[in-house]
Structures are given as structure tokens and as C-alpha cells.
């Protein structure tokens, strides 16, 4: 069964038509790269899927269930986890407390959750920083903390908003390796401007421009699609 389905998602902000009739399908175990120039509507689409915004029209279905009217926290409890373009850690909490904020998994105990949080921190290379205030971490660490924090809610669908932004090449590679290691059983949608580094880890690429999906397919198909070239580089002069 398809994990996430959006049908005809539409959202306006005053005179700006940010998302226009977007249809998107994501399957379990799939990494979908969502690309497009600035203002294409990628983050708005994320916000519509995660429940931060309500669509003007259209539907969001998670495993076939209509979740269009549900608030963000209910969607998170159903398994939609997200990270943010600009990291949003809880700076006055320790790194491990950041992971313990989320909804506990069914039947889990306090000590089990603490063990799980430490395991996740180890997975993202932050085990040594467990008791440090999140506000003292570097940007690269904060990006990894956000991924660990969202994994703590046991997501079935992971929305990653520019996970590589502001990272060094080595840190970006580490995050991408982490994303690939996570994809078994869950669907991942990743918005990213670093196309060169992120495209190889995608099973499928979707390109948006002016609120619409203009291209979708394998990374190779999308890379050579003339509509994508035009959206990024404009019309050829000759």
C-alpha cells in the first residue's frame, strides 16, 4: 500500500498561489527527493503534509486514511515526523531531553525510552553529548539531533527539510549515509538544494516550480528533463 498520498493539494497565501493541485505518492522504503528553485512551494507542501497548514482544497492520505483535517500533533502521533529548514532544537533542554519530548511508543517504560534515546543519539554520533544543553551544539550536531529527535517518535514517514543546509561536505555525507540507513520500512521525503550530493541517494525525484510538480521520475530522468533545466536555468537565448 502507498504510505503517503496527496491529491489535488492547493494552498494560497493572499495573492500567492504557493501550492497548485499537487499529487504525490510515497511508498515505504522509498527516498523521494523534492527539488525546485526558491519559492517553488516545497516547504509549503511539507507544511501541508505535516499539518502546520491546512490546504484550501485537496486531500492528504496516510496509509489510505484521510488525515487532511487533523492537527500537526495528531499527524505526528500517526507517524509523520519532520525536521525544519532552520533547526529548531529545544535549546534549554539537554540533548537527551530533546529526544524524550516526543510521544512515548506504545507500552514503553521511562527507562526503556531513555535507553532508546541513548541508542538513537549513538546512531547519529551524539552519544557523548547526551547531557549537554542543545543550545551549545554546533549546526552539524543540531541537524543530527533533529533527525534523532524525530526518529524517537517512531515515524513511518519522515519529512526532511533541507537536512544538508549549512553543513560541510563531510557532515553532509554523514547525514546522507544516515538517511540511507533509515529508509528500510519507512518513507522519506527530502527537500534539498544540494542536488549534486543528495540526488544519488534518492529512489525517485520530484521537481516543483511555481507551486506545481513539473517533473517526476528516476534521478536520471529528472536530471535530463528539459522542463527541469528550464526551471533552474531559464530559457535558452538561441
Amino acid at each position: 500500500m502507498t504510505l503517503l498520498t496527496t491529491r489535488g493539494l492547493d494552498r494560497r497565501f493572499g495573492g500567492v498561489h504557493a501550492v497548485r493541485g499537487v499529487d504525490l505518492d510515497v511508498s515505504p522504503g522509498e527516498v523521494v527527493g523534492l527539488f525546485g528553485p526558491n519559492g517553488a512551494g516545497k516547504t509549503t507542501l511539507f507544511n501541508l503534509i505535516a499539518g502546520s497548514f491546512r490546504p484550501d482544497s485537496g486531500q492528504v492520505l496516510l496509509q489510505g486514511k484521510d488525515i487532511t483535517g487533523l492537527p500537526a500533533w495528531r499527524r505526528a502521533r500517526l507517524g509523520i515526523g519532520r525536521t525544519f529548514q532552520v533547526t529548531r532544537p529545544f535549546r534549554d533542554l539537554t540533548t537527551i531531553e530533546n529526544l524524550l519530548t516526543g510521544v512515548p511508543r506504545k507500552g514503553s517504560t521511562r527507562s526503556h525510552d531513555a535507553d532508546l534515546a541513548r541508542t538513537l543519539l549513538a546512531k547519529v554520533g551524539l552519544a557523548e553529548r547526551a547531557d549537554e544543553l542543545a543550545g551549545r551544539l554546533t549546526l552539524g550536531m543540531l541537524k543530527r539531533l533533529e533527525v534523532a529527535r524525530v526518529l524517537a517518535i517512531d515515524p513511518t514517514l519522515l519529512l526532511l527539510d533541507e537536512p544538508l543546509a549549512g553543513l560541510t561536505s563531510r557532515e553532509a555525507t554523514e547525514i546522507l549515509d544516515l538517511i540511507v540507513s533509515l529508509k528500510a520500512g519507512i518513507g522519506i521525503v527530502m527537500v534539498e538544494h544540494n542536488v549534486r550530493q543528495s540526488l544519488p541517494v534518492c529512489d525517485r525525484a520530484v521537481v516543483m516550480d511555481a507551486g506545481k510538480i513539473i517533473s517526476s521520475g528516476t534521478p536520471e530522468q529528472v536530471r535530463t528533463d528539459p522542463k527541469v533545466v528550464q526551471a533552474y536555468f531559464g530559457e535558452k537565448d538561441d
Binding site: A50, S52, P71, A72, W73, R74, A76, R77, G81, R82, F84, R88, P89, F90, R91, D92, L93, E97, N98, L100, T101, G102, V103, P104, R110, D113, L133, R149, V150, A152, I153
Partner: protein, 320 residues
């Protein structure tokens, strides 16, 4: 979440021991002046912890805690005057304050930042207006408690309440929901994205906080035995509820204890040495604490002594 098990047990024991010593002071021959100071320290501590529980933990700054305490005072005095048993009359205070907080919370907790703060300030003014107009509350002339109670009773009850309120903050601060409240304070949008039902959680903690403020008001009603609306619903009480944790350390368990001691001690000293200027001096002293120790006295002292445990929690007046 913040403390280990032995540290948590020690933290739990400390307020009980201090409260027991405070309660036994008359037996050690403490003067009635000292007992009154202890009473006011306990009253301000209970109010401060009530504010700390809601506003300190969530970052939603309330100016309604004075009004909630006032509602508790009126409910208790009216119930006892109506012939209710003493225990039931005292319980009426926190229950009515809790019901009032449901109304304020349901209407204002969806607002963030200063919008919420102004709504609570509006509620404070509205409560005074209503109490001044209602014949049942005695109008502008207020009410008098018709039953004469021994003075030690409200003194003991207030010490017990301050201790209980400190323990409530300790338990909440060390719980998963405490961490979630601090997450709401840090970034509510991020908290929602992790499945935290912030509206529900804020309402529950606001009700708990209101019940403590209402209980403090109920006991204070027994202590003063006379309620004048302009005094009971004065915004000063809300400011004290806010100042105590702000001075001592917002979102810390023991910061408000230090804040209440500092506030009462300073007020008394300045009233003696600067009788005509003591209110101004208190304001200046508060400004100094807020400007130079933004986390409050306790985190400042802890950082000077390089202690862990009581971590500074930066005050955030507005939501994200």
C-alpha cells in the same frame, strides 16, 4: 529527567524539613513578628510556585494569578460565612479558582506570547470589576469572615501549601510532561511536530497552577479575615507572583524559595531604612536582579559555585 534518584529524594525531603522547622518556630519562642514574616514568605512562595508551574514552565506569562488567588479568598470566605464546614470552605477556594482558570484557559491559551499575557491582564481587571459590582461579594466595601479562627491555623496551612506547591513543581519538572512543557516554552511549533498536544497540556497545567493560587488565596482570606476588592484584586499580587520566581530562578524548583525570602527580607529592610522610598527601591532592586542575573538568583549562585542540578532556564516572555 534532571535529577538522579538520590538527588531527587533529597530535593523532595528538603522542603518538608524546612516547612517542619518553619511550623515549629512558635515552639522555639519565635516572636509574632517573625511568624508573620514566615507567613508572608510562605504565601508569596505558594503564589510564586503557582506562577512558576504555568508561566515558568511554558513561557506563557500570566498576570491573572493575583485574580485567581482573590477568587480563592472570596470563595472560601463566602462559603464559611454561608455555614459550610471549615474544610469544605477552604476547598471551595481552589475549586472555584480552577473553574475560573478553565474559562480563562479555554479562551486564551490558543493565543501565544503577549496576546495571552494581555488576556490575563484583562481578566485581572474584569474580576475586580465584577466583585465590586456584585452584592453577594459585598460590593466595594468587601466582606468580613464571620467566624473567628486561631491565627496559627492559616499560618500552618500556608506553610504546608508552600511546601506542597514546591513538591508539585519538583515532580512536574522531573516528569516527561515537565520536559514537554519546557519544549513548548522553547519552540511550540517544533513541540507540536513531535506529537505534543500543547493546547491540552497547557490547560491542564494552568488549572493545576490556578488551584494552587486559589488555595493560597483561600488561606490568606482566613488570615486577613477582611476582603477589600481593591486590595485583594490589586495587580500587585500578580506582580509578586511573577517577581518571586523571576528573582529566584524561573522554571527551577528552589529558585522561588530564594525569591520569596529575598522579596520579603528586602521589603522589610527597605520599609525600615527607606520608609518613603521603599517601593521605588524594590523596583530598582528587581531591575538589578533581572538585568544582571537574567536566569535568577539561584542559577546565578549555582553558576558561581559551578553547581549542576539547578540549570538556568532563560526567561522567554513570548512564544515562538
Amino acid at each position: 529527567m534532571a535529577a538522579s534518584k538520590p538527588a531527587f529524594l533529597a530535593n523532595m525531603l528538603a522542603p518538608v524539613v524546612v516547612a517542619a522547622i518553619a511550623a515549629l518556630l512558635p515552639r522555639f519562642g519565635a516572636s509574632s513578628y517573625v511568624q508573620i514574616l514566615v507567613y508572608y514568605t510562605a504565601f508569596y512562595l505558594a503564589l510564586g510556585q503557582a506562577w512558576n508551574l504555568m508561566s515558568g514552565m511554558t513561557g506563557y506569562v500570566s498576570f491573572a494569578h493575583g485574580a485567581l488567588a482573590g477568587i480563592g479568598s472570596y470563595a472560601t470566605v463566602m462559603a464559611i460565612n454561608a455555614g459550610w464546614p471549615l474544610a469544605a470552605g477552604i476547598l471551595a477556594g481552589p475549586i472555584v479558582a480552577l473553574l475560573a482558570s478553565l474559562i480563562i484557559g479555554a479562551t486564551s491559551l490558543r493565543l501565544r506570547g503577549t496576546s495571552f499575557t494581555f488576556t490575563t491582564l484583562f481578566f485581572q481587571a474584569l474580576a475586580l470589576l465584577i466583585v465590586r459590582k456584585l452584592p453577594a461579594t459585598g460590593g466595594p466595601g468587601g466582606l468580613t469572615l464571620e467566624e473567628i479562627l486561631p491565627i496559627w491555623l492559616p499560618q500552618l496551612l500556608m506553610i504546608a501549601l508552600a511546601c506542597a506547591a514546591t513538591l508539585v513543581v519538583l515532580f512536574v519538572r522531573n516528569s516527561r510532561n515537565g520536559v514537554r512543557l519546557l519544549a513548548i516554552k522553547g519552540d511550540e511549533t517544533a513541540a507540536l511536530s513531535l506529537g505534543i498536544a500543547s493546547a491540552r497540556l497547557k490547560l491542564v497545567i494552568f488549572c493545576a497552577s490556578a488551584a494552587i493560587a486559589g488555595a493560597a488565596g483561600a488561606i490568606h482570606g482566613l488570615f486577613t479575615a477582611s476582603l477589600y476588592p481593591d486590595v485583594v484584586f490589586s495587580v500587585d499580587i500578580s506582580l509578586i507572583a511573577l517577581a518571586v520566581p523571576l528573582i529566584g530562578g524561573v522554571a527551577t524548583v528552589f529558585g522561588p524559595v530564594l525569591g520569596a525570602l529575598f522579596f520579603v527580607g528586602m521589603t522589610e529592610l527597605l520599609a525600615v531604612y527607606l520608609p518613603s522610598l521603599h517601593i521605588v527601591a524594590i523596583g530598582v532592586a528587581l531591575l538589578i536582579v533581572i538585568l544582571f542575573m537574567p536566569g535568577g538568583l539561584l542559577p546565578f549562585i549555582a553558576s558561581c559555585l559551578r553547581l549542576r542540578g539547578e540549570r538556568p532556564a532563560v526567561v522567554k516572555e513570548v512564544g515562538p
